[in-house]
C-alpha cells in the first residue's frame, strides 16, 4: 500500500477480558478435544487388536506425561462443556445482560476447575 490508511483496532490492541478469553478458549478447547477424540479411537482400536497393543496404549496413558495430558484434556472437556451450555442458554435469547455474562463466565471457570478436580479425585479413589 502506498498510503497508510487508518485501521480499526485489531484484537491485540485490547486488554484481554473474561468474555474474549472464554470465547477463544471455547474454540481452542474444541480443537484440543477433537485431538482427544483421536486418542479415544486409538484406545478402542488398540483394545480391538489385542492385549499387547492395549497394554502399550494403557502404559502411555498411565505414564507421567500421559497423566498430565489427560488432566489437561479433562479440564479442556469441562471448559468446553460448560462453555457450550452457556452458549446454548445464549441461543435461547437469555443471559445477555453484562452482569449475567460475567456471572456465567466465572461460573464456567469455577465449575470447570471443580469438575476437573472432582473427576481426578474420583479416579484416584475408585479407579486405583
Amino acid at each position: 500500500m502506498s498510503r497508510s490508511r487508518p485501521l480499526s483496532p485489531n484484537i491485540q490492541i485490547y486488554r484481554p477480558q473474561l468474555t474474549s478469553v472464554l470465547s477463544i478458549a471455547n474454540r481452542i478447547t474444541g480443537v484440543v478435544l477433537g485431538l482427544g477424540g483421536f486418542g479415544l479411537v486409538a484406545w478402542l482400536v488398540a483394545a480391538a487388536l489385542g492385549p499387547q497393543p492395549y497394554a502399550a496404549v494403557q502404559s502411555a496413558f498411565i505414564s507421567w506425561p500421559g497423566q498430565v495430558l489427560l488432566v489437561g484434556f479433562t479440564f479442556a472437556f469441562f471448559l468446553h462443556l460448560c462453555g457450550g451450555i452457556r452458549h446454548l442458554v445464549w441461543d435461547s435469547g437469555r443471559g445477555f445482560e453484562l452482569g449475567s455474562i460475567y456471572a456465567s463466565g466465572w461460573a464456567v471457570v469455577a465449575a470447570s476447575v471443580v469438575l476437573t478436580a472432582a473427576t481426578w479425585v474420583a479416579s484416584a479413589v475408585l479407579g486405583g
Partner: protein, 127 residues
Amino acid sequence: MDRERMGSPLARAIGLGSAKSGVEHWWAERVSAVALVPLTLWFVASTIAHIRSDHAGFVAWLRGFPTMVLMILLLLALFHHTALGLQVVIEDYVHSGLKLPAVVAVRLLCFAVAAAGILATLKIAWG
C-alpha cells in the same frame, strides 16, 4: 414487485436468511452438542472406573450392550460435532485456495476415524 426490481441488492437480501447452508450447520452443531452432554458425561464417569483396567476388564466393560450402544452414539455425535466445529475454524482463518481442500480433508478424516472407532467397538463387542 417494484421493491424487487428497484431495491438495492442488500434490500432484496434482507430478511431471507443465509444465502448458504449456515442455518443447517448451526442447527447440526447445536443438536450434536445437546447429544454430547449426556454421552460425554457418561464416558468420563465410566472412564474413571476403567482407565486403569487391563485388557480383559476393558473388553468385558465394552461387551455390555448399553456400553456398546452408548460408545457408538458417542463416536457418531463426537466426530460429527468435531467436523462441524473444525470447519468453522478453517473457514475463519484459512482464506487461500487451501480452504476447501482443508474442509474436505477434515470431513473425511473425522468420518474415517469415527468409522475406525465404531468398527473397533463392534469387533470387541461381537468379535
